[in-house]
Amino acid sequence: MSTATAGRERGTATRVVVAGYGPAAHRFIERLGELGFGGSITVLGEEPRPAYDRVALTSYLGGKTAEDLTYPVPEGVTVRLGDPVVAIDREARRVRTASGHAEPYDVLVLATGSRPFVPPVPGRDLPGCHVYRTIDDLDAIRERAGHVTSGVVVGGGLLGLEAADALRGLGLATHVVEVADRLMPRQVDEGGGAVLRRHIEALGLSVHTGVAVERIEAGPDGAVARVVLSGGQVIETGLVVFSAGVRPRDELAREAGLPVGERGGIVVDEGMRTADPAIYAIGECALAGGTVHGLVGPCLTMAEVAADRICGGIAAFTGADTSTKLKLLGVDVASFGDITGEGTLDVTYLDPVGGVYHRLFVSDDARTLLGGICVGDATAYQTLRPLVGRELPGSPTELLFGGTAGVAVDLPDDAQVCSCNNVTAGRIRAAIAGEGCTDIAAIKGCTRAGTACGSCVPMLKRLLEQSGVRQSKAMCEHFAYSRAELFDIVRVRGINSFSRLIAEYGTGRGCDICKPAVASILASLGNGHILDGEQAALQDTNDHFLANIQRNGTYSVVPRIPGGEITPEKLIVIGEVARDFGLYTKITGAQRIDLLGARVEQLPRIWKRLVDAGFESGHAYGKAVRTVKSCVGSTWCRYGVQDSVGMAIALELRYRGLRAPHKIKAAVSGCARECAEARGKDFGVIATERGWNLYVGGNGGFRPRHADLLASDLSDEELVRTIDRFLMYYIRTADRLQRTSDWLENLEGGLDRLREVIIEDSLGICAELDAQMERHVAGYVDEWRATLEDPEKLRRFVSFINAPDTPDPSISFEIERDQIKPVMIPLEAVR
């Protein structure tokens, strides 16, 4: 297809009405906005929520929320949710909704999508039978899964395997039933299907191919109890998910007298227009070029074409790339180009031990790539897919056996790099050269490439490199290394001082960027008290005074209160200290007590009282582990299923004082109600009836992010070991001031990669990470206690070196709500 815009005139302002609010509709209205469409836009949706990312639907069961997946409604668009269009009056140019609302249109766009196909087997309407299509479907499946132990997925295609993955994730013994003789019959051939099957069976799923479901039978409660297959086999199960393909929802168009295909789908021309010039159809309900498309890429392209046409453009949809690359149940599956293999040569590579199957289809002179299939390892996909229809960069055998790493691929400008958003290599090169994009984030913002499935991100990186854009890793002018590289240098070379590091690997004498970073690295590797010797000079003011500087130059004092649990005696001590030193007190958001307004020279005396009462530093000042928040858990709460307070205390004490590239917060919730808000934390633990679920990479603050589920149903020991490794791997490899959320998002391979490294030990470093954490735990000393015991360190806690007992006269307070508040220092006008 092409989205040529030549000759476009600004479309006349009209009333555009969209029936259906899925991803295609969303893209359509978004595109209208980008094209400067001046008319009104009304969207009428059936579901109770705006469009969401259906490709990522399964992640909803993994812990993502509906909000995470939902696309923002563009400004200026009127949306009616939960009220689908039920009739079109073409004469009057008006649609009517289920609630009776009438909406006039000048242009109507049908984006009604498709419905899951449910084969007409007896029992298909029993309670316990579901489809896999919407967030509501997933809620229903999750609810049902809580009452049963096994599930059957009818359909072994793309979506079927995704549904199977979801059921497995819900802890069910899972069966997949596929009528064809192999899994994913539309994407892979027999050989690929066999390899895929082995992968999936190795995960404990039962695969039944070449059989159909004959009937579904109910138990005494009237719900699904078993599935009977055509061969006579019986599977005892309480849950059936139909995922046997989709059918276009074209009934509105049919009833309005618009032509539809023999097997369904609203007939449209290459401008996405139906037989009625005022009505367009896009997405899975449309029959374009004789095909109904079920992949997101073509559907989004249709949306863009329709928007362009409505704005007076001449874009055309002339077929679509049906390439797919997926990681299903941890198995790479990819297919691209023409894999029918008619009148072509093909080369096959099969490694049954490694579980890898590759097959390339080439022209009969073996020079032009026509298509390919990859199962088990799809790294070649990125390089090969854009080359479909072009000359091969090497012999097929070389490509299959030697991989693509050594192949210098210079993509032609018109090669499509991002098939989800139809972005070509040329567009990306233009963004790099002409629009100053120098990193992946900028390219994403500029071109949308890489923003949908993300599989093209490695190719974007390569294009950046090929364009000569070098990403500087230099931390600052003093070090040409990234934090992770410096960490390795310090660790491997056994360097224990900043002076030696900068003399051997840097220039100048450091700055406020590199000094605290190196201080953190030295502290993470256990180099004694952070105020010992030269290390004292590296610390920023918070670490230097073991307290947080506040806006008038006073400091806050935050004693550790592990898990938020505190005795009345200790509460009283905090109250007395605050009263005696005239401090402002506030309960923090992290279940501790902030004491504010302390002058430098007061800090040792305040801490002496606190330490004597059994408190220790809460590290509120450090880029370090801060708190592990908790709810009251099973001890007190009638819903709690585990002792969240006990676990939170254990974790907070284990990781106290651990220094990191950024502060680290954590929480433990005693049940799925999540009162501790664990998913907003760097690591969050949520109790299940079978153990603990561990989430990582969450973030409150400026750019909030919900944590991702890393592992489920862990025992106490497994939980602690996994967190140990997660923290140490992060500390080792993150950039300066990079939070776990950014780190995880930038980690190549993402969550899967993290699992490989810290659970499967793919790099063989787990023993080292474990040992490093053990050293930290064993070497922990309370920083404030150690400081109070060292007169040399205490000498620094003065406002004036020549008047140690004089308080800073520039600090003053007034009273607000019965407590002190700083009197702000006026800034000079000259500034």
């Binding site: 100048g508 500087i549 800073d808 500034r831």
Partner: protein, 137 residues
């Protein structure tokens, strides 16, 4: 006057306490009284401290090579008297301190904010007299 001007004039060889004194003299160009504030060994290398001189807060620094510098303690961006608590370092070889409040970097030699050259803090004379650090005003 900036550091490069001074260097070009051949007036100074940086950085020594004596040179700093001359720079401060060049910058301020008037007679002064010297106030002893602490022993040289009271100052941590590459760290600041604050001295109270006639009611003025003066941030004094001892850099890696042993040189001494003195600037106003008040951070013009926040109004708080905190510059002595910042991180000492270099920028293009020039000794600096970063405000602990909003991290702007100031030259210890000229007092000019290197991130916003329209802003500067006063520079004071400082010298070593035997083992005693003295600040001049």
């Amino acid at each position: 006057m900036t550091l490069s001007h001074l260097e070009a004039s051949g007036l100074v060889t940086l950085p020594t306490p004596q040179a700093t004194t001359r720079i401060a003299a060049a910058v301020r160009g008037r007679a002064r009284t010297w106030t002893p504030v602490c022993a040289y060994t009271d100052l941590l290398p590459e760290r600041g401290a604050c001295a109270l001189v006639d009611g003025h807060q003066i941030a004094i620094f001892r850099t890696f090579d042993g040189a001494l510098y003195a600037i106003g303690n008040r951070d013009p961006f926040s109004g708080a008297h905190v510059l002595s608590r910042g991180i000492v370092g270099t920028r293009n070889g020039e000794p600096t301190v970063a405000s602990p409040m909003y991290k702007q970097v100031f030259s210890l030699v000229t007092g000019v904010c290197l991130d916003d050259p329209d802003v500067s803090v006063p520079v004071y004379a400082i010298r070593l007299n035997d083992n005693v650090v003295e600040v001049g005003r």
